[in-house]
Symmetry: C2
DNA sequence: GTGCATTTACCGACCGGTCGGTAGGTCGTC
DNA sequence: GACGACCTACCGACCGGTCGGTAAATGCAC
């Protein structure tokens, strides 16, 4: 009856998660009722509850799914990079791509509903977030230690990085004036172009030869 | 019967706004009921409705109050500064002070409930936010035009500024390891210390003499 | 300064409606 | 005939908001 594959199992649940994520992303967790989620899945509420334990578990699963996607698409791609600055630059690029890209609903929910979950579920998600912060702090510390950037407070640097990147969901429009790539290039250069140690950054053409997308001096406002 | 002053008038309403702001800040707009707000004001719900038109108007008034505070404490203090870079630096300092300070509840609500209001009220608040973004864009543009910083895309720069500053409410703890002043100093230097034109920033000691709180090289990780 | 009309600030009770969640039945598939 | 998917029907609690009523303060004419 179907093309070689049954649409049940976890696949059905995943489509429910995605539908719910779309609604919750648009109207917030408390502002979205199980009735509405069920209707969007073309089901009754009781039918939805056949697949879902309760509303909080649904939110937790959405967040976990988003965290998995983030770690696969961002963290795992840059962990191996040896140079800490290159690791941070590429990490910012990928993270911006994730936030501006198509599958950003779950990530936005993680960001916006940062205080909605309680108890163990909250603690579990928070610990995964914390690991990311630590990853960034460590990279900044290492970059300072190696003299690759000037001395900065790692925690403040990490949260500045995160603020720039994760705030994007509040203002960026995919069909707007600026493309995701423009934002990405500009933002990476904004933070790291100015972090290079003066001695290196001073001599034009000498510093940061690796992956310098933007020429050191002439960054056109329209590029 | 009272000490020379009546506690009624708008003063009562303002205490209601502040109580409501505290609760909404803690549990979200949709997660806070009028019953709870009334109880926190030591009133019944009907009593609360004597002062308040409806829940949405209450949120709008809280946001307007926060916007007033922001414009008084931040924008109006830096508008007159002639040098665009100094204007931006001082603006960031004051904005961080506002977000980390005591009367940050209303501001946090403005940030977090950015999509809760609808219709005219939403449009009105959004226009006031937009004015701030434009203010920052203009300052960045001017700084580039005057050669005070290297060329950057003003919109991305403005939203990076905002992301760094406004993300703080998600992670900063007043009684934590880092003080508000530390965060402020580090963050200003992180963005603007690296934005100076290479020719100026290159020569150690020559660039950015104004308000350089952090010594160019040695910033202890524990300070 | 007394008496009275009016206003302010609040209350208990209640409205229609929606919330998250559940019990029990039906139906198609293996 | 067992089972999973989904339904109808319903639960108690709570939602935002309103009702008529009231005790106390205030304004004002005399």
């Amino acid at each position: 009856m179907n093309s070689g594959r049954r649409p049940d199992d976890g696949e059905r649940y995943r489509t429910i998660l995605e539908t719910a994520a779309r609604l919750i992303c648009e109207r917030g967790y408390e502002g979205t009722s199980m009735q509405e989620i069920a209707a969007a899945c073309r089901m009754t509420k009781a039918g939805l509850y056949h697949h879902v334990q309760n509303k909080e578990q649904l939110l937790f699963d959405i967040m976990s799914y988003g965290m998995d996607a983030f770690e696969q698409q961002v963290l795992d791609q840059v962990r191996h990079l040896e140079d800490p600055v290159e690791r941070l630059r590429e990490c910012m690029r990928l993270n911006i791509h994730l936030v501006t890209g198509g599958c950003s609903k779950e990530v936005i929910i993680i960001l916006h509903e940062h205080a909605t979950l309680t108890g163990e579920a909250r603690a579990f998600i928070d610990s995964r977030k914390k690991a990311y912060v630590r990853f960034l702090e460590d990279a900044f510390s290492e970059a300072v230690r190696l003299g690759r950037i000037r001395a900065v407070q790692p925690t403040v640097a990490a949260f500045s990085f995160l603020g720039m990147v994760l705030w994007i969901y509040k203002w960026f429009q995919p069909d707007g004036r600026l493309s995701a790539e423009q934002v990405s290039n500009e933002m990476v250069e904004l933070l790291f172009g100015g972090l290079a140690t003066p001695a290196v950054a001073a001599v034009p053409g000498a510093g940061a030869p690796q992956l310098s997308i933007v020429p050191p001096v002439a960054v056109g406002e329209k590029s």
